[in-house]
Symmetry: C2
Subunit: 224 residues, 2 copies
Amino acid sequence: MEKPILSESQEDYLKEIFKLRELNLNVSMQDLANKLNVKPPSVTGMVKKLCAMNLVEHEPYKGVQLTETGEKIALEILRHHRLLELYLAKHLNYSWDEIHEEAERLEHVISEKFEAAIAELMDHPTHDPHGDPIPSADLVIPDSPELAPITLHKTGHQLTISRVMSQDKDILNLLSRLELIIGRKITIKGNESTGVRLKVNENQYLIPHSIAKLVWCHDDEKAD
Amino acid sequence: MEKPILSESQEDYLKEIFKLRELNLNVSMQDLANKLNVKPPSVTGMVKKLCAMNLVEHEPYKGVQLTETGEKIALEILRHHRLLELYLAKHLNYSWDEIHEEAERLEHVISEKFEAAIAELMDHPTHDPHGDPIPSADLVIPDSPELAPITLHKTGHQLTISRVMSQDKDILNLLSRLELIIGRKITIKGNESTGVRLKVNENQYLIPHSIAKLVWCHDDEKAD
DNA sequence: AAAAATATTTAGTTATAGCTAATAATATAT
DNA sequence: ATATATTATTAGCTATAACTAAATATTTTT
Ligand SMILES: [Mn+2]
Ligand SMILES: [Mn+2]
Ligand SMILES: [Mn+2]
Ligand SMILES: [Mn+2]
């Protein structure tokens, strides 16, 4: 009674609405079309259907948002996705940039049993390999430390890389070659017009702002 | 060039044609409709499409069979399925009767990387938990010992259960409760009108023919 | 060789989820 | 306030993969 059967497409819409809402204030039809790689008329059609199912609400030109039921489903899929990513990395030797694509397909087909089995095996983890929080079995998002992109942190401070806001293979590959991975301590040496100068281990890099703003860090020196 | 992209449905058709061909001489449209839980007109339509793709050949009233390309794809899916079944059983604590359903969905979405990873982890196994042979990475079916259903073996002989020809949850559950599992040694005590009397460990059972014929065994006493 | 039974196909329908081109509604800029 | 740009929707089309009801072809039985 509680669980309507949704198509993979519908699940992806709900998940994407959730993720966009986490960032933006409101989610436009355009935003969804971009993220889901479909055209706006397709979004209109699907959002209409999801409205009818009471999974989303839509005020044209104002935004789409999830109902309580819709959010639960989104969190369920997100949990699948992030548990899978961690599982693939830890148990099947996938690299950072390979996990997203595989999880994107598997998330829709694993059973609750599969979900529970890998969660158990990994001792109920709270964050995936990108630093994204994994909703708990009862669909609560765990607290994360206070984070901000490198570009917003103070020069001179020591930071811990805690989350990477991209699933792009090339970006992730680049970051891991520069050792800019989750948990790494870095120091901002300076903010220049072309990018941010960082000290990573013994090395120094100038990374472009476009990359820097994707890397979210905790400030180890901040007192609060 | 070598790999057309097929729908899940199409993959299931190819797999089912392969499995039926292993048993029957020819595979009718009806057979396929039954196995795939669709109606005959749906089969006509899909077989026509698969013919056009050169994956199957069809002589009406005579049967459907796979082309070389079609067979390769069928074996690829079968490999996914059987590797997954074994993986679920060995690494995620699934029981005998739970693995099939999950593998049925996962088989279509795992990548070649995933396939390779679990094959490696399990040391390139040749048989799944039902005793079904797992096609190798280059799609060759491994040799199995000479097997026949319990119903065709000689009274008094000691047998080793080597393959179970069912994916039905209830049947598998029943069999495992009776300890009639892969690798178990049994002895046929007699063939009666209602069924076959077996000695399993220290116990004796009379199991109906309908069940007995699903359990395929190797004759440990046969000299050949 | 007909008749009956079985197997297969055709014709026409449905549902899902996309698309383009055109239209309408709203927001923004002048 | 009006014009322009942006955003969203409608209308109509496509493809996939089912379905039912009816027609046709083949095999089997009498
Ligand atoms: Mn997905
Ligand atoms: Mn992630
Ligand atoms: Mn399947
Ligand atoms: Mn099996």
